[in-house]
């Protein structure tokens, strides 16, 4: 029963009960609002997102997009910002791993699986990011090659869903299996995560068409997927914050009880 002991009833000997450890988690948690503002700014700064570039653009049109002297700095600066801050999702996902570890599970399978997903989304995003930056680095390159880099960037950006889907489903099942009177996350968080996973799935089929809902600028592959990611970040940020603060309050209360005794 080592795992139950570790996951649920971490005794007073555990470093997790030290308030300082939770304070450190608060620093990581509060990077999220800043990251969201930065992500949103970079998103709206990139001229290819609002509206999304069409996959039906010819090679010459794509080359012209990167050769536009007014747009080029915006392309570069937005993608440099994304390169800096794209991985800010990792600490937040790791905080979710820490909360999964507190759940009433018998094994650490869910926290392991979640840990395995953590870097997947940001890593694929960085591949897309580098392709956009490469296309912008030498806009005078032959239009064929610029189009190739642009296709690679857009397909990777759209299809980066595998580990985002998995982490939502893993978190949902972890919540369903969290059998305790006061579960770490409410049941609706699990339902919500399954919904997000379903919303992300169509983007996996972006290669099927250059137009319509599945194309990279389409309703499902661009709007539904990206809105789902945005809503997930905000909602999970709030419920994660509540869970971390609740844990902190419990530790302080327990500490006060021990002092009183």
């Amino acid at each position: 029963m080592a795992d139950i002991g570790e996951n649920v009833a971490e005794g007073s000997r555990s470093p997790r009960n030290s308030p300082r450890r939770i304070d450190g988690e608060l620093i990581l948690l509060w990077t999220l609002p800043a990251a969201v503002i930065i992500w949103a700014s970079a998103f709206f700064l990139f001229p290819g997102f609002m509206p999304p570039m069409s996959p039906t653009m010819s090679a010459d049109q794509v080359a012209a997009f990167y050769r536009d002297a007014a747009a080029l700095p915006e392309i570069r600066y937005s993608m440099i910002v994304f390169n800096w801050f794209g991985v800010c999702l990792v600490p937040i996902l790791t905080l979710i791993v820490m909360q999964i570890r507190r759940m009433a599970h018998r094994t650490p399978i869910f926290s392991y699986a979640m840990l395995g997903c953590v870097a997947g989304g940001p890593a694929l995003f960085l591949v897309a990011n580098v392709c956009w930056l490469l296309a912008a680095f030498r806009p005078e390159r032959s239009p064929e090659l610029t189009q190739l880099l642009n296709d690679f960037a857009w397909i990777t950006f759209t299809i980066l869903v595998p580990f985002l889907i998995a982490q939502s489903v893993i978190l949902a099942v972890a919540i369903y299996f969290d059998d305790q009177p006061r579960p770490i996350f409410s049941r609706w968080v699990a339902h919500f995560n399954l919904l997000v996973a379903a919303a992300l799935t169509p983007a996996a089929f972006v290669g099927l068409s250059l137009s319509g809902p599945l194309a990279w600028d389409g309703v499902l592959s661009f709007w539904v997927k990206n809105v789902a990611i945005g809503v997930w970040v905000v909602v999970m940020g709030v419920v994660l914050g509540q869970a971390v603060y609740r844990e902190r309050a419990e530790i302080q209360r327990r500490g006060a009880e021990l002092d009183g005794a």
């Binding site: 029963m1 080592a2 795992d3 139950i4 996959p55 599970h105 018998r106 094994t107 650490p108 399978i109 869910f110 392991y112 699986a113 979640m114 840990l115 395995g116 997903c117 870097a119 997947g120 890593a123 694929l124 591949v127 064929e144 090659l145 189009q147 190739l148 296709d151 690679f152 397909i155 990777t156 299809i159 869903v161 595998p162 580990f163 985002l164 889907i165 998995a166 982490q167 489903v169 893993i170 099942v173 299996f177 799935t201 996996a204 089929f205 972006v206 290669g207 099927l208 250059l210």
Partner: protein, 275 residues
Amino acid sequence: MSTVVTPPESGSNAEATPPSGPTHRRIAWHLRHGPKRELWLAWSTLVVFYNLFFPMVFVVAQVQPPPAPAWDLATQVHYFHERHLGIPIGLGFIFAITGMTAVNNALIAYSMRRMSISRAFGYSYLLIYSLSALPGLLLLCIALIVATLRPERDPKVLGWLYDFAFLSFDGTMGVFLIGSLIWMVAILIDKNRVFPKWFGYLNLCNALTEVVVAPCWIFGRGVLAWNGQIAWWLDMVVFGVYQVTFIVMLFQMIRREDFGTGPMPDLPRKRATAS
């Protein structure tokens, strides 16, 4: 996550006796009360993943077995033309389900956690195999999808995507090499009898396939090329045996699991006391 395969005798909780009756009722009981439900769910995910992975790659997308590296550009272009639907559909499914590998890797990492060895083994395996999905699977799928997206692209560009995809698939070696060796060493030094020692050596066989495949980066034709009898076919046979074996090994591990920290008991029915 996945459908749940009927778990066999799962656990040994005194109050936890699975009901007799229809299969779906037993599955529902195991999902709600089964003491090993987390492990069985992870194992079922593993089985479901491989049952989807192979049909999608081999039958729907038809990108494996791989085409010849020696084909001329016109044949390569034709290859992508033929698969303009199969690749985005089959590999689209791959993108939808690849996240399941995180659960598979978590189960294997758990097997090492159950051993009498450092946690470093399980964590290393988990991180290496999580990393492996990128160069070993996802990037090459993206290259194939990008190629089929515009078959009218310059054939030289398509040829570059062709090489990128198939070399990346065969030629991503270190993650699987070192990953298998970590599992091998863990099994060999483990004193908790989680797996039989011969299975440790089977890991070595899998690791060696990653050595044998290295010449695919050098040879454009022949048995050592990326579609060759040695670099692809022999390796695929070894991997097939290895994969079926580790699925069975993990199945047996879960059946024997007593959630203790000492040596694993032999078979569930031989256990006298509840965990």
